[in-house]
Symmetry: C3
Subunit: 477 residues, 3 copies
């Protein structure tokens, strides 16, 4: 069998002169290693290195990009293998072939979406299977995929190596023991997998379960978290543990980018009140903003790169949360604001050479208005890649068009993937490299950049800038 291929010019601009330049630029980045410095793949996947499950388990049930689209057209969660708590609902489908068939029958829904782009890559380039998903092809495709997944060459570590992943960062609760990371390091496999410190659950006293998290923090660190100072000491201890396990960065998923620092006594008072069982929502919110400021200070001190992902309202439908749990596609962006919100943090550390801050957004209006002007002057700040709903062919293009005027290319991080779907990682890098090639090619075609400059910039965006943004020393250094 000949290996099927996607069109070599996919996602490149149509204009012939622009496409010719884009091809040349893309050729320079196509085979570069992948830097996967922010993501949601579990370390256990690579620690276990077990074969992937069936096609439904691999592609459908856990992927909220896919399931949300099917749900939007009336497909029941249960039909996708997602069990709910509503006893009146149908039982969840357990036949993976039936789940896969439901997905294939709805393939047309993904026309024009990035999900379609990624899935085609995964099927054709990663798995080497042929045929377009449809009711008619579903069973044959299922069998073909299942056969591939049974081969040793399609186990996680083999794919990791085939993908050319240089570093893979996972995202881990601040309370994680990082045992899976230790297993990977212990067994001699040469793949670089590092944790990322995500302390959200510890920084929001307003959320249910917060006191239990604080207690667990004490248990894990052996530090008494009964006081605010103890809390800070325990956080520092966890950050140290992450750094020792190879972590490069922290990640913060706050509702807003508010970063106003409170007087220490005020922070301590709110902390104590919250632990005692009651801080009002305004105080809890102020504390979370304060802690973002404190996290920046700790990053400045310990060198962990700080990432902020604000502005998404999680679990928009409380009924879905109650019945099916989180991460079911019901997280919805809301308007974001950075100019005023980040001002306190940047006034403290924005020109401090010790801090590296990376900001992501799902609100495109902030690109040209706030984020590019901020990243274009504060040395601590870098603008992260288009995030979540914006990580698409057109979203990547609009990002470069909007941010380059004020931030240039070199105040962005280059591409940062952000996925829990391991097989989609090379697809996402492929798309980003094509989108950047297309953007740079337009600048060349409009005589705003030379082709040599464009090629050099593309390589920087794909490889050097992510390394620099996350503080990885260059290979030769």
């Amino acid at each position: 069998m000949t290996h099927p291929k996607l069109h070599p010019d996919r996602a490149l601009p149509a204009d012939p002169a622009t496409r010719a330049a884009a091809r040349e630029i893309h050729a320079a980045t196509r085979d570069l290693p992948l830097l996967c410095l922010h993501g949601h793949v579990e370390a256990s996947l690579l620690a276990d290195d077990a074969p992937f499950g069936d096609p439904a388990e691999l592609f459908v049930t856990p992927d909220h990009y896919l399931t949300r689209m099917l749900v939007s057209q009336g497909v029941a969660m249960e039909a996708l293998g997602i069990a709910g708590r509503d006893p009146a609902a149908l039982p969840a489908e357990t036949d993976p072939r039936a789940i896969w068939r439901t997905f294939c029958e709805h393939w047309h829904l993904f026309r024009g979406t990035p999900t379609r782009f990624w899935l085609e890559y995964e099927l054709v380039e990663v798995l080497g299977v042929t045929g377009t998903p449809s009711r008619k092809t579903a069973d044959a495709l299922y069998d073909e995929i299942a056969a591939r997944l049974a081969e040793p060459a399609f186990r996680p570590r083999a794919l990791f190596e085939r993908f050319g992943i240089e570093v893979l960062a996972t995202t881990d609760s601040a309370l994680s023991t990082l045992a899976d990371h230790a297993r990977i390091r212990a067994d001699g496999w040469r793949g670089e997998v590092v944790p990322t410190f995500r302390p959200d659950s510890l920084l929001h006293p307003g959320r249910t379960g917060w006191p239990a998290e604080i207690a667990a923090l004490a248990g894990l660190t052996g530090v008494d978290t009964g006081s605010y100072d103890g809390f800070l000491a325990a956080l520092r201890a966890r950050r140290r543990a992450f750094a020792e396990a190879g972590a490069l960065a922290t990640d913060h998923g706050h509702a807003t980018a508010a970063s106003e620092r409170l007087p220490a006594a005020e922070a301590a008072r709110i902390y104590a009140e919250a632990l005692a069982g009651g801080a009002d929502p305004a105080a809890a919110g102020a504390f979370a903003g304060h802690m973002l400021h404190v996290m920046a200070e700790m990053s400045r001190d310990d060198g962990l790169v700080m990432q902020i992902h604000p502005g998404v309202l999680r679990d928009h439908d409380p009924g879905v949360l109650a019945a099916y749990g989180p991460d079911r596609g019901f997280d919805i962006p809301a308007g974001a604001e950075f100019t005023r919100a980040l001002r306190p943090l940047l006034a403290s550390f924005g020109r401090d050479p010790g801090l590296r801050l990376i900001v992501y957004t799902t609100d495109e209006t902030t690109y040209s208005r706030e984020l590019a002007p901020l990243a274009g002057v504060y040395p601590a700040l870098r603008l992260g890649a288009p995030w979540w709903f914006l990580d698409s062919p057109d979203g990547l293009r609009r990002y470069r068009e909007a941010v380059t005027d004020s931030a240039g290319f070199y105040n962005t991080t280059g591409f940062v993937d952000d996925t829990r779907a391991f097989l989609s990682i090379p697809a996402r890098h492929d798309l980003a490299r094509r989108a950047d090639a297309g953007h740079l090619a337009r600048l060349v075609a409009e005589h705003r950049l030379t082709l040599a400059e464009a090629v050099e910039t593309a390589v920087d965006l794909a490889y050097d800038l992510p390394r620099r943004a996350f503080g990885i020393s260059s290979p030769g250094a």
Copy 2:
């Protein structure tokens, strides 16, 4: 005389490969029937089927798109035939030829606007007249148009049939007797004209004249509206009457999309206070938001599709309202918010198979940030076509570029025209089909979609999706 023609490639992308694909895609939709499921043409127009008036009355005086542009360049309302209440102002021009001349002299103002695109279509394709409007051509054009309008082939019903309109929905006050619709049905004409239920004036206790509207509601339904429960019963009665007259949908023009449900007792209390002559603005606003939620519930129960058009500040200049009345071009959009505002409504009915909710906006920032993510997961929600100021070649393009990533094509309604200018209806569908063909052609040229898929999608956008969104059973069903 040979029939004059517009350029067959108008509004299609310039790149040759993209244009070739766009032509092929557009050819598949060009001659499909028109679904006009939301608009402001009066039913009396088709009930009377009288000849249209003179060119000024047809094209200029009532069209706020046109008059606002002329006013913006210093032309007096009066010169356009709009009489004001200011006794110091000039009397309104009554010579239609003079009004038409004023319009023709300002033709250059419309360069690059959708109004120009529509008018060219109306003149050339609908009326078959030649020549570009100008001071020099004004009189000849006037005569040519006037001659056409006198022919039987240019009466409303004849045009309705020539346009290929399959259904035309009007927009009607909830207090309308729907007598004109009854006349159309009664006289045996086969054209399908249905009303749309618009209860805005009943749902905003803060607006002057509200108590009179409530009294009229009681008079029309015979239901005592002295209590909140009676009010709800009367609303249900009117919805029933609309549904019996063929209505497919309701339409709601609130200032915001706020949809927080109040406890029934609280709603009843505000209703009673407002009837008694005084509800404070905050309470009146809360009541309007509450009623949006109640309207969704009633839609779930009676099957009328619910449309929301929020975010336009009506009558921005109070002096214009006082002197010339509403709908003079002084309605201005303001920032809109949906993620938080629609949450209560969607939490109640967003996954209820009984509800179909269509949302429109004049705030493009909400496309990728809020509306596409919402429409891409809630099965009840569909994203309406670009509305009002955004129903333009570039506006239609930006819409598809911004919403497709997260909502795909199939969570949009396809094209929905929204005009009071009957002759512009085919022009608007023509433009939308061209814009969608151009967008799909780009996806084909970038190897993101096959041509066959693009053609099928274009047909769905032009024909099948509007039918499905408004619950019209498919022809073969």
Copy 3:
């Protein structure tokens, strides 16, 4: 030596048919005179007509577009010749050659930015020097530029004439004596240089130093500013003085576009309180909004065109302000709102033939949502050119794409440059003419406009509309 040349098609669209039209359109505007009706060049530059200083002083140290980009990548202000007040910092570099070298070494940072576009124009087209800035070329370039600057043909007045500047408006404190303008007029040079009235420091009682400004206003006018009425009289006197010195316009840099008029007694009360040393921030803000309304009234009365530039948060980093002063690149846009904010002002004067109001924004979201709909109906309002962070190839394109639907071309001012870098003036006009040619060419290529119309519109945008917007009578009149 042959004069080096930039590519003649730079910044024109790549599609061949579109580019051909763009070339033809651009040819019609390329050699038109420059109208520089808003800027920050100092009148003293042209009054003195001294040779420009060295390359660092001319291009680097005072240009916050340049310095902010270098600072964002960790270059110290001091290395750019900017002395700070921190005694622990390095002393500022005083060797202009070293400063120039630092800039040249960082040339790659400007890829894709408008700064790069302008600088290339300044180097090649204005100064006629060759070579791309780099560590290697820095010294040779320095010598070449320095040699040019020593020639009489490169003095300010000679360049003014070579650039084809028809009028240059400076921006001047309301307290300026306008002595430099008087010197220019007095010495018989034929260049037209006019002041612009900028009273911001007088209208914000909340800012430190306000009482001193008010005292200076009294001193300069001889009008007692102890009362609100005296204050208004003194403002009128200054406006008169500016008008007599040739001023065409005023300029207002408020934090927001709020324009609510206060009752006179309330305004007088706040004024008195503020003079006495204390007005709370809310009252001070309300007073500033009130004064915007009053300024509109004075413009209506004296014919000075009113410009508003709202929405930029100045001196985002207080540490930079304290150490290095204002205008160091740390001004950051924030979200803007016009629909509600401008309503009071427009309700009073929006249809008054005496007022001309020009609005600028750094928030692109307001283009299609608020500003184009407002400018498309209020005769007093014109939409200014893309401002500051948006004055770029892609920013100019997005502006036309977003505003033309509702405002057309003729409710915009055409191009208005806004720079303190004298040599960049022709570069900015060149870019704007290319961007408009590209936009118009697309309309031609999409059969939405004839080529003749596009050419005429381009000339209007480059020449006639700025003249009309600022009330300059046409040459033949």
